[in-house]
């Protein structure tokens, strides 16, 4: 029986954050060889494509806004982004836009920042809550962000260590 489990990942952060995400996914395929992985990125991450292709089966670059027309943007989103669906969708970007995108893309289960139908920000998983509460806007995080990403995505090769250990 074919395994059709799919993971979608939203990473709309900087090149640095994309690199951290790639590293966090190292070894993931070994633990879950049958899962098809898709990543959503900003076009600035194109220069990392060779590295991305090692970890992800499908890469989707989110087009920049066309400021001349709403319809063009809506058509693009409906035809290119919202046609896909996932077993699990994980948002590793902690921004308003990524949270709305996470709520829009079809998925059975979502992790990370997302918006509810009453437009309130929701975070269900523990490590995303930790990032929101401890890391964002502060500088007091004792863990490696890559290890936190690994914990969020469920990479079994995770062993959280403090920098001082």
């Amino acid at each position: 029986m074919p395994n059709n489990k799919t993971i979608g990942l939203i990473q709309l952060g900087s090149i640095n954050q994309v690199l951290e995400t790639i590293v966090a996914f190292k070894g993931y395929t070994k633990s879950f060889p049958d899962i098809h992985k898709t990543i959503f990125l900003k076009s600035l991450a194109r220069e990392l494509e060779p590295l991305l292709k090692e970890e992800f089966e499908k890469i989707i670059y989110i087009q920049e806004l066309d400021k001349s027309s709403v319809e063009k943007n809506l058509n693009y989103l409906n035809e290119e982004i919202l046609k896909v669906s996932f077993s699990v969708l994980i948002n590793l970007t902690f921004s308003k836009a990524s949270a709305y995108l996470c709520s829009l893309i079809n998925a059975k289960f979502r992790l990370g920042f997302k918006y509810s139908k009453t437009n309130s920000l929701e975070i269900e998983d523990t490590w995303s809550k930790y990032i929101y509460a401890v890391i964002m806007g502060k500088n007091i995080n004792p863990f490696s962000i890559i290890d936190i990403y690994k914990s969020i995505i469920g990479n079994k090769q995770t062993k959280l260590q403090k920098f001082s250990d």
Partner: protein, 45 residues
């Protein structure tokens, strides 16, 4: 002000009305909210 900004502003006031009436948002509302948030992030950069 661009066409996009004008339409988004109009649509966002519809969403505000919905929320004030305790109505839930649908997919179309989220599409506009997403576009507005991207526009907001672009403006900050």
């Amino acid at each position: 002000m661009s066409d996009l900004t004008i339409i988004l502003t109009q649509y966002l006031s519809n969403i505000k009305e919905k929320l004030l009436k305790n109505q839930v948002l649908d997919k179309e509302d989220f599409l506009y909210l997403y576009l507005a948030s991207v526009l907001e992030e672009d403006a900050k950069q």
